[in-house]
C-alpha cells in the first residue's frame, strides 16, 4: 500500500551574526514600508501578498515556530513580549524582519517567525471542538471540486479549521456559509475569521441544521456542501435542495454506522456515492552510516548521526579504525505517534433531473 512521507524541514534564515554591512539591505527596505498593512492569512489582496518586499509589521499575525509539533499564533504588538522555554522574545525585535526569520531571545535561544497559512493555522488554533487535520482537509477540498468562485455550505463550524481552508479555496470571488448550533462557538469562530482577515469570504450563522435544514435562500445555487454532524442523514434532504445539478456533498463521520445510514439517505437523490478514509503516515529521517567492522567483513553496523549540523564533507569517525569504510545512507522510519483514524469521508453527486 503506498505510503506518504511527511517531514518537516526547518530552514535557517539570516543568522543573527550578520555583520552590519550585510544588514543594510534590510534597512533600506524599512523606509519603503510606510503604513502597517496587516498580513492576511490569504494573499487575496495583491498588495498584501507575502514577498521579498514584505516584512513583519506591527499588528501582523505570525506563527512562532519552535518545533514541528510546537508552535503558536501570535499577534505582533510593539512593546509586547513572548515568553517560552527558550527565553523572552521582544516583539519589537521582529518588526521589520522578513518572514521566516530566526529570532533570538534574551538568553540566546531562538524560534522562527513564519507567515500564517491555513495549514499552520490548523496546527495552532485553539481547539474548541475536535478539528479536521490537513490530510482530511486537503482531500475534501479536492474532492468537493472547490475552486475560486464557488459557493459552499458547511455545518458545523466547530473550531474553523476546515473553514479556513475552504475560504482559501473559494477566494476571491466565492463564499463560504458556515453554520453551528452552538452560539458561543460560532461567535469565537467569527472572531477568528475576523482576525485572520477572512470576514468577507466567510459568513457564520447560528442554526441547527439537523433540525431545520439549510436556509431556503440558498436553494439551487450551492456548488458544494460539507457536513460534520452527529446525524447527517437528517440534513441530507435539505442539502439536496441546495445543491446545483452535479454538485458534490461530503459527510464526515467517525463511525461506520453513521456512514451506513448516511449512504441510505443519499441513495434517493445522489449518485456516485463513495466513502474514503485518509491516513497520513509521517516519517522521521536520520542520516546514518553503514560501517564495516574492523577486519571482519561478515556484518556491517549502522550508526546514527544525531548531531545538529551534518557536514557532507568527509569527517573523522572517531572510534572506527581506518580500515572501516562508511557509507552515508538515508534512514527513514514511521513516526512513533502517527495520527490514526479521524473519520470516514463520504462523497456523492447530486443527480441530474
Amino acid at each position: 500500500m503506498p505510503y506518504l512521507l511527511f517531514l518537516c524541514t526547518e530552514a535557517a534564515t539570516s543568522s543573527f551574526s550578520l555583520s552590519s554591512a550585510q544588514q543594510h539591505p534590510i534597512e533600506i527596505y524599512l523606509g519603503v514600508l510606510l503604513k502597517s498593512v496587516t498580513v492576511s492569512m490569504l494573499s487575496i489582496d495583491p498588495s498584501k501578498k507575502n514577498s521579498f518586499q514584505r516584512f513583519i509589521s506591527d499588528g501582523d499575525l505570525v506563527i512562532v515556530y519552535e518545533r514541528h509539533d510546537n508552535m503558536k499564533a501570535v499577534k505582533v504588538k510593539k512593546g509586547s513580549e513572548l515568553q517560552n522555554r527558550f527565553g523572552v522574545f521582544k516583539h519589537s525585535d521582529w518588526i521589520g524582519k522578513p518572514f521566516g526569520s530566526k529570532v533570538l531571545s534574551s538568553k540566546g535561544g531562538f524560534v522562527y517567525i513564519l507567515a500564517p497559512t491555513p495549514e499552520l493555522w490548523t496546527l495552532v488554533l485553539s481547539h474548541r471542538t475536535q478539528i479536521l487535520y490537513i490530510a482530511d482537509i486537503s482531500f475534501v477540498i479536492s474532492y468537493l471540486e472547490i475552486v475560486p468562485g464557488c459557493v459552499v455550505l458547511e455545518s458545523g463550524t466547530g473550531s474553523g479549521s476546515l473553514t479556513t481552508s475552504l475560504a482559501r479555496a473559494v477566494a476571491p470571488s466565492g463564499h463560504v456559509h458556515t453554520f453551528d448550533f452552538h452560539e458561543q462557538r460560532a461567535g469565537l469562530a467569527r472572531d477568528d475569521f475576523e482576525r485572520n482577515g477572512l470576514s468577507n469570504l466567510v459568513t457564520v450563522a447560528v442554526r441547527d441544521i439537523q433540525g431545520e435544514g439549510f436556509p431556503d435562500e440558498f436553494q439551487g445555487i450551492i456548488d458544494s456542501v460539507f457536513l460534520d454532524l452527529p446525524q447527517p442523514w437528517l440534513a441530507i434532504p435539505s442539502a439536496a435542495r441546495m445543491l446545483k445539478q452535479d454538485g458534490v456533498i461530503c459527510s464526515f463521520s467517525p463511525c461506520i454506522e453513521q456512514v451506513q445510514r448516511s449512504c441510505e439517505a443519499l441513495r434517493s437523490n445522489f449518485t456516485d456515492v463513495r466513502t474514503f478514509e485518509v491516513l497520513l503516515r509521517t516519517y522521521e529521517i536520520q542520516e546514518g552510516r553503514i560501517q564495516s567492522s574492523d577486519g571482519d567483513e561478515s556484518y556491517r553496523r549502522i550508526t546514527h548521526t544525531r548531531r545538529k549540523r551534518q557536514c557532507i564533507s568527509s569527517e573523522d569517525n572517531g572510534e572506527n579504525t581506518d580500515k572501516a569504510t562508511s557509507i552515508p545512507t538515508v534512514m527513514a522510519r514511521p513516526c512513533q505517534e502517527a495520527r490514526g483514524h479521524t473519520g470516514y469521508l463520504t462523497f456523492a453527486r447530486l443527480n441530474c433531473q
Binding site: 512521507l5 539591505p25 530566526k102 513564519l114 475552486v147 545538529k308
Partner: protein, 422 residues
Amino acid sequence: MAGELVGGHQTSSVNPRITWEGCSVLLDINDGDRLVFARLSPAATLKIGDKKCSLRPLIGCPFGSLFRVETGPNGPYLERCVHSSSSGANDMGVQEGGDRQLESESKDNRALIDNNSAQNLSSEDIDAMRRDGATGDEIVEALIANSSTYENKTVFSQEKYKRRKQKKYAPKVLLRRPFTRSICEAYFKKYPNRIGFLRIDTLSLLLSFANISAYSDVLLVDMVGGLLTGAVAERLGGTGYVCNTYFGGTSHSLDIARIFNFSSEFDSRIVQASYSHLCSAESLDEEGSKMHEIDHPAGIQSIIGRESSTKCVPSTGSTQIQEAQSLRNDNSSLDEELGNTKENLSSGQEGLHENNATITYKAVNPGKQASPDAIKMWKEKGFNSLIVAAPELEVDSIVQKLIPLLSYSAPFAIYHQFLQVI
C-alpha cells in the same frame, strides 16, 4: 459559459456546468469500466462494443447527465435518461432482501451447471428484438425472464446478473466534467505512469501544503504530463501565475492541462520559463541554496547547502511530501484513449483522442513562455510556493537551485514515488 449573478456571487463563469460545443468531457462508460476523454465536436463519435454513436446529443447537457445506447432507425444513438429508475430498483432489491432473508439462506449454486443452456433466448432472438425497436432495458428484462436459473439466485447474485446484462445490452454513458479529481482518477486508473503514479489524495495534499490560492505566483516543476499544472491553475482561478520551469533546453509536456476546459484567461496564466531565464542577470546567484537545521533531537534530517554570506536567505517553514510505491509494470500503449478493456476494440476515430490533431477550433495552448516583465516581477517579489513533481529527476539538487527563487517563509512541497530521493 456566461456567469450569472446569484445572491451577489458570480457563478458559472469559472465553473460551467453545461457542456458546449468543443468542450472536452470525460465519458464514464458502464460505471467506470471504461474512461474516455473526448471533445464534443459536431462530428465526434464514440464506439461502444460494436456500435458507433454520435456524441452530438451530449452538447448542451448538464454535466452528470446519463445516457443510454439505444437502437434507432438510423443506427445506434445516445439517448438521455434519468437516474431515478436505476436507484429505485436497487432500493427495492435491498428491501426485499431483508424480507427474504430466510429463503436466501437455502440458495446456493449446487444446481448450477455451466453448459450454456440456462438462457432460452438466442442471439438471433435478441437481434430481432433490437430491430423491432426494443430498448436496452427491455432486452435485459427479456433475458431475465428467459433464464431458467435466475429465480434460484440470491438477491445479490441477481443484481450481479442484471448489471452484467445491462452493461452488454444497455450500456450507460455518464457525462463527467473534466476536473482535477476526475482527470487524476482516470489517469491513475489507466495510465498511472504518465502521471508518475500521482494519486488524487497526494495531489490534493501537494496543493494544500503549498498553500495554493488565488493571486499566488507558483513555481512548478511539472513532469507529470501537465496534471499538476492544470490542478494549480484551477485553484488559482485565473489570477496569479503558474510558472513551469525546466532545466536544460526543452520544456516538459503539458498536454493534460489542455483537458481542463480552461478559458483563455486561465490559459494565459500558465507560462513556462527555463531555469536559466529565471536566474539570468540576477544577484541571487551567490546566495546558493539554504541552510536547513535540526534543532530537535528526534533526528529530523538536515540538508546543508552552501553558506550564504550576503543578504537574508529566504527561509521556509515547510513540509515535503513523498509517496513511495513499488514499480508497476505499465503497458503504456500508444493509443491515446484511456481504458481499452479487453472486450472493447479501439475507439472511433473522430474526437476521441485527447489532444486530437484534427481539432482546429479552440486551440487551447497553455504554456507560453513567460514575459520578461513577469520574470522581473518574480525576481523582485519571489514566488509564493514551489511544487516539484519530477519522477525522473534527482530532486535534491533541483530543490536547492529553486528555493532561492521563493519568497520568505514560502511553503514548498515535493513529490516523489520513492522514499530514497530525499
